[in-house]
Amino acid sequence: MNKVDKLGQEIKNIFEEDSEGIALSNETINNIIKNSKPSRMVKFRELMNKEIEIPLAPAIAGLAALLVISILPKGVFKDHNIQVIDIGGSQIIIRDDREVADK
């Protein structure tokens, strides 16, 4: 275990010594970056970590609208005011709207 570590340290030292004098131009660096292929995972992470700007008010309004549309049934704001009156034993239904088809 120690032997392996020592060997590894030696190799690392040699590389550091050898590369001490090497300097890459910006162009080279850019070329390397440009020509190297990042893995899909890296790409995905990059995408996931990408930050986008969202306008807060429209986002909240949209979300709230979605929730309201999803929960509120159709016609909930329509006043289904139904009054039943009695005329000589007949039950007469007075309704504000005529959604229900006549028989």
Binding site: M48, L63, H80, G88, S90, Q91, I93
Partner: protein, 719 residues
């Protein structure tokens, strides 16, 4: 304002929203629906529907259907009254049926099986409640073919029900026995056993079985069985029904709608005591699939027979009242048929017709067998808001007729504008209702118009006004113009201001018809207790040029006059009676009776009552007895125009007939006459208990005592 958000955060948010949408939103919708339902909010149904549409599961559809058809109430119709709670509409029944049928098309998972079975059962209950044997049989057939054991079992139970109501008792018993042997503990089997015992005359066994049923847990007791929730009431009814149930006789008959049988209609019974109960106790029979029924055994007596059905069935149907109300049950079978009819189609006016001329033409389609028709506007105490009380009165045509033999009638609107409306009083001060002062029609107000068809015996064949309908489908007229200041004051019951307003008008224009008629009524009736000014009312009436209008107003004033006022104004009352002589209305003829009653001229009072055309009052029978005309008394009691009363029963009529054979002594007759005088005199009602005890204590004749006992019962003097 903008925020910077990582894509992964947005995706996480969308995932949460997705879960919320597909799971959380339906649950929240259901939660809102349940909350609204517990608060009796009508909008609960919309949320249940939304829940069913988003979930699309067997359970969600069943919940929605149960919210639509949540109560299987029976609308009860007796001869003396009818009513019931505002139940499920026809549209709600149809919608529930539609979603439950969607459930039956599903292939249910294990977790859905219970709701799937409940959906099937509910559909069958609805078929029974709707009175549809065809639907029930179709569902039974569907259940027989099912490979689900529970569905097959329910199908068998409802087959047993069908056999029971069709009086095929042995077939029903075989099915029930088979199911019991197989270990079924369905409460419906216990109910079927109870019904079988009841219809086979074993009341004791039926009572025992329903008593056992009432010991089941509350959830089972409260459930709906065979389209009804009244099975729990059977126990209480049977326990107190000894006075009605016996072996003397049976009532048999059919219930038809335009000749077609009405199945599964419950038949009820109660004593002929003038009132009526809703709720369906007093159950004695149910119609089979041919609309036929046969009651359990009943003791001899006079009864009121009622029918109970779902309100949704009554939409646009008229209950035909061509037969007398009460039924005398003797030995053997007494036949009673009930008929429902289609409404009369009114061709003119259409709903919401604006009147732009002085002529109102009412036209209708002829009804076969009708002897005559009447046209009756519906006038509310508060006509603007269509609330408060209401009244209907047959109106006179331009020819002065109120009974029409053709299929149309013409009316002059200006004559009806100031004619008297309904007379009502409110509170301890007897504040006059505006309808008594305002005319029959008010400008800018809508009035439904009804047309009724009668037999020659004044039995109602059918009407344009059904048992249940929508207001906007009723023929109606809207009067032109706007309310006057005076009418506005009267409508708001600001009577002192109205009187001042009209008096001011008369200073400017002494012939203003609205001011004269309104003031005459306000003074003549008294806008509150102690505010009558009859002299001023009669003076004002004199200045009305139009004779029919004058008669109408005097008629209204005279009807409210006490005997004392009549005596004080004898001369003018006599003049009015003479002027009213041409009027067809029975109300005006009754005034003549009031005059003679005030004068204590009983012979003339009797003669005045004999002039009534549309009805025979019991007062006339009492006056027949007063003059020892027993044959006439019995004849009048049998008259179809006699309002249904327990006096038509054999106890009363036998006593009257016996008096003919054994006339009372002169002293007894004198006591009885004193009783009759006080009975028909106004105010005697307050001392009814004293009147009864003081009379019976002095009488020896048992027949006269029976007559007075029956009057005591008929008038509920014991309450």
């Amino acid at each position: 304002m903008k925020i910077r958000v990582k894509v992964k955060t947005i995706l996480l948010g969308m995932l949460i929203i997705g879960i919320l949408y597909f799971w959380g939103i339906p649950q929240a919708t259901l939660g809102i629906a349940n909350y609204l339902y517990t608060r009796n909010n009508d909008k609960a149904q919309l949320y249940y529907e939304k829940y069913a549409n988003t979930r699309k599961s067997v359970s969600s559809r069943l919940i929605f259907a149960e919210s639509l058809v949540n109560y299987y109430s029976r609308f009860v119709i007796y001869s003396q009254g009818w009513g019931g709670r505002n139940g499920v509409s026809q549209e709600e029944m149809e919608k529930a049926e539609e979603v439950l049928h969607l459930n039956l098309r599903e292939n249910p998972s294990k977790s859905e099986l219970k709701d799937y079975i409940s959906s099937y059962r509910m559909l069958m209950d609805m078929a029974i409640a709707e009175g549809s044997p065809d639907k029930l049989k179709e569902l039974i057939g569907w259940g027989e073919k099912s490979n689900i054991t529970e569905i097959k079992e329910i199908s068998s139970i409802y087959t047993a029900f069908l056999h029971t109501i069709n009086r095929d008792f042995s077939k029903a018993e075989i099915i029930i026995e088979d199911l019991e042997r197989a270990g079924s503990n369905d409460p419906r089997l216990q109910i079927m056993r109870g019904e079988l015992a009841l219809f086979q005359g074993n009341i004791e066994e039926a009572t025992r079985l329903y008593d056992e049923f009432s010991k089941r847990n509350w959830k089972e007791q409260e459930d709906t069985y065979f389209g009804s929730r009244s099975y729990l009431d059977r126990k209480f009814w049977l326990e107190q029904a000894n006075e009605h149930i016996g072996e003397d006789g049976f009532i048999e008959g059919r219930i038809l709608f335009e000749g077609k049988p009405m199945a599964f209609v419950e038949i009820y019974l109660q004593y002929a005591d003038g009132g009526f109960r809703v709720g369906g106790d007093g159950y004695i029979a149910i119609t089979d699939e041919n609309g036929h029924f046969k009651s359990i055994g009943l003791k001899k007596g006079l009864y009121d027979i009622g029918v109970g059905t779902m309100e949704s069935i009554l939409v646009d149907k008229v209950f035909s009242r061509t037969e007398p109300g009460y039924v005398e049950v003797g030995e053997g079978i007494t036949t009673v048929d009930f008929k429902f009819r289609n409404t009369i189609k009114v061709l003119s006016p259409q709903p919401g017709t604006y009147l732009d001329s002085d002529e109102l033409i009412v036209q209708w389609e002829e009804v076969p067998g009708a002897a005559y028709y009447t046209v009756e506007p519906v006038v509310f105490t508060d006509p603007i808001n269509k609330s408060g009380g209401y009244f209907r009165r047959a109106i006179e045509s331009v020819e002065g007729e109120i009974r029409f033999t053709s299929d149309s009638a013409r009316f002059k609107v200006s004559e009806l504008l100031y004619a008297s409306g309904g007379l009502t009083r409110e509170g301890n001060d007897w504040i006059l209702g505006p309808g008594a002062v305002l005319g029959m029609f008010l400008p800018g107000v809508e009035y439904p118009i009804t047309v009724n068809a009668y037999t020659k015996d004044n039995g109602l064949i059918t009407s344009s006004l059904p048992m249940r309908t929508y207001y906007d489908s009723l023929p109606s007229v809207i009067m032109p113009g706007e309310l006057s200041e005076g009418q506005r004051l009267v409508t708001g019951m600001d009577y002192p201001e109205a009187i001042q307003h009209y008096e001011d008008i008369l200073i400017e224009d002494p012939e203003d018809v609205e001011a004269i008629t309104s003031l005459a009524k306000l003074y003549g009736l008294g806008w509150k207790r102690g505010e009558k000014n009859l002299d001023r009312a009669f003076d004002l009436s004199d200045s009305i040029m139009e004779s029919d209008l004058r008669s109408d107003i005097l008629n209204t004033i005279l009807q409210e006059m006490t005997s004392e006022e009549i005596i004080q104004n004898e001369k003018i009352v006599l003049e009015v009676i003479e002027s009213l002589d041409n009027l067809k209305n029975d109300d005006s003829k009754y005034i003549e009776f009031k005059f003679h009653r005030a004068k204590k001229d009983w012979k003339a009072a009797r003669a005045a009552l004999e002039k009534l055309e549309s009805y025979v009052p019991d007062t006339l029978v009492f006056l027949d007895l007063y003059f020892e005309d027993y044959d006439k008394a019995i004849e009048r009691l049998k008259d179809k125009r006699f309002y249904p009363s327990r006096l038509q029963g054999s106890i009363f009529t036998d006593a009257v007939a016996a008096l003919k054979e054994n006339p009372p002594s002169s002293s007894d007759l004198s006591v009885f006459r004193e009783f009759v005088e006080r009975l028909i005199d106004e105010g005697s009602y307050e001392n009814r208990g004293v009147l009864y005890t003081s009379t019976t204590g002095r009488l020896r004749d048992k027949n006269l005592k029976t007559i007075i006992d029956e009057i005591y019962n008929q008038r509920h003097w014991n309450q």
